[in-house]
Symmetry: C2
Subunit: 265 residues, 2 copies
């Protein structure tokens, strides 16, 4: 425990699901509506003090989450996990749902304690669309060759420089210099499967992801699955480390930030 202004502080972990459609992504960016904006406003109303949120994965505009993890510090006297979840779910509205509230040790951090993250991408693969799946699946009319897509998916397993699939981002070093963020990532799992007759799902887990990486990977694998590109393109594009070759960007509404793994302590 630490104390601020004489009040004991606790670190709180939230497990959060959200429909990404109405939001410009997770990270606060006032005045645009963001998930963190909604959560922070609700938390500040309950805690009666400002809160600063850390999340396991900053999802992009329109991307959903089932198992997003968020941590923040609050005055201990304001936090009672059961009632807090109930209040937050009243205040946040139906698009953002707090599934769990836990008090965790002060050195637990939603972002830096995470060992891996996973995403799921769903495609409705049939001629006729479905009005009930339109917000959570990418509708592709022509049949996808899942075997070819899985062959492509195996190319990305392990550690690779994903420059071909991620936008460049500048970061500041400790001494204030602006450098390009590294784009090497370790992919632990990447697999396409048939969830139901016409419903196809991609699951990917990695230590971390760079910006738009999953949607770029899904995009090229869909082109391979449609026969628009040979399966050998996957390894070639990956090795080229150049975004010009990457092809299609899958739409955000098929993507769900699914789960985060924290090592047992």
């Amino acid at each position: 425990m630490t104390a601020v202004n004489g009040h004991e502080q606790v670190r709180v972990r939230l497990l959060v699901a959200y429909d990404g459609a109405p939001f410009r992504g997770f990270a606060i960016n006032d005045p645009t509506p963001t998930v963190a904006g909604v959560l922070a406003r609700a938390l500040e109303q309950v805690c009666q003090h400002p809160v600063s949120l850390t999340c396991a994965g900053r999802t992009d505009a329109g991307v959903h989450a089932w198992g997003q993890v968020v941590t923040f510090d609050a005055e201990a006297r304001r936090i009672d996990p059961g009632p807090l979840r109930k209040s937050l779910n009243k205040l946040c509205g139906p698009e953002v749902v707090v599934r769990r509230v836990d008090i965790v040790s002060n050195d637990f951090d939603a972002r830096y304690s995470a060992a891996w993250r996973s995403y799921r991408y769903r495609i409705l693969n049939r001629l006729v669309p479905d009005p009930f799946l339109r917000h959570q699946t990418w509708h592709i009319r022509r049949p996808l060759d899942l075997d070819a897509m899985n062959e492509a998916a195996t190319c990305i397993l392990g550690s690779h420089d994903f420059s071909s699939f991620c936008r460049r981002q500048q970061v500041l070093t400790a001494d204030g210099a602006e450098v390009e963020a590294p784009r090497t990532r370790r992919v632990l799992h990447a697999e396409w499967a048939r969830e139901a007759d016409d419903l196809v799902r991609f699951e990917i887990a990695a230590g971390s992801f760079c910006y738009r990486m999953v949607r770029s990977l899904v995009g090229i694998m869909v082109q391979i699955g449609l026969g628009e590109r040979p399966v050998t393109d996957m390894a070639e594009v990956l090795e080229a480390r150049h975004r010009d070759l990457r092809g299609l960007l899958a739409p955000p509404h098929g993507l769900v930030f699914w789960d985060v793994g924290y090592p047992e302590r």
Copy 2:
């Protein structure tokens, strides 16, 4: 085949799914947005002549459909089922999807040829809501007693006067007199089941339904399932034939017009 203005006419049957949320029900009621309004505008654009739609079940505002059946007459030269489905799905937008187009015999009528209709109602029955199911399920936090609800459901099997569960409606007789529409209906099937852990589903089939009948029935059965009313209330309210006793009206977004049965001919 018949002919109008020298053009051969065909009767066309559509199988239609829709998300009811953006619509004030099925029946055309300009200028409010309705499912029939969207379909008729698209059909008139393709057929280049006015069309008059008949449906198997006129769903209420906010109620969804998976297997709605619609018939209309059109000039034969305008109708080619495959391309027609494609054009309609482009014109109708993502909320209304034409799943099938068939040319049927001239005496087939979506409404009068139907032997039965079925509805499904889904409830998310757990403490924490789900942002992805919020448009298609009624969220009820306290646990429901499905056995009690099924005991109540058996009371409505067979032919009954459902005046306790349906709003009065005036209809015109052949000689122009205004009389009350009969509210006797034959229920063929009525059953609650667990679709998944926290997901509860009611299925009901009947020759036909009167206005708001399913939502009224679901409402009282939910009150029984929560222990707010004894299971014996179901038979008592049914026999009373008086709406004042009926209780809760379930919200429309949990309800789906599911299927229609036509006798083989």
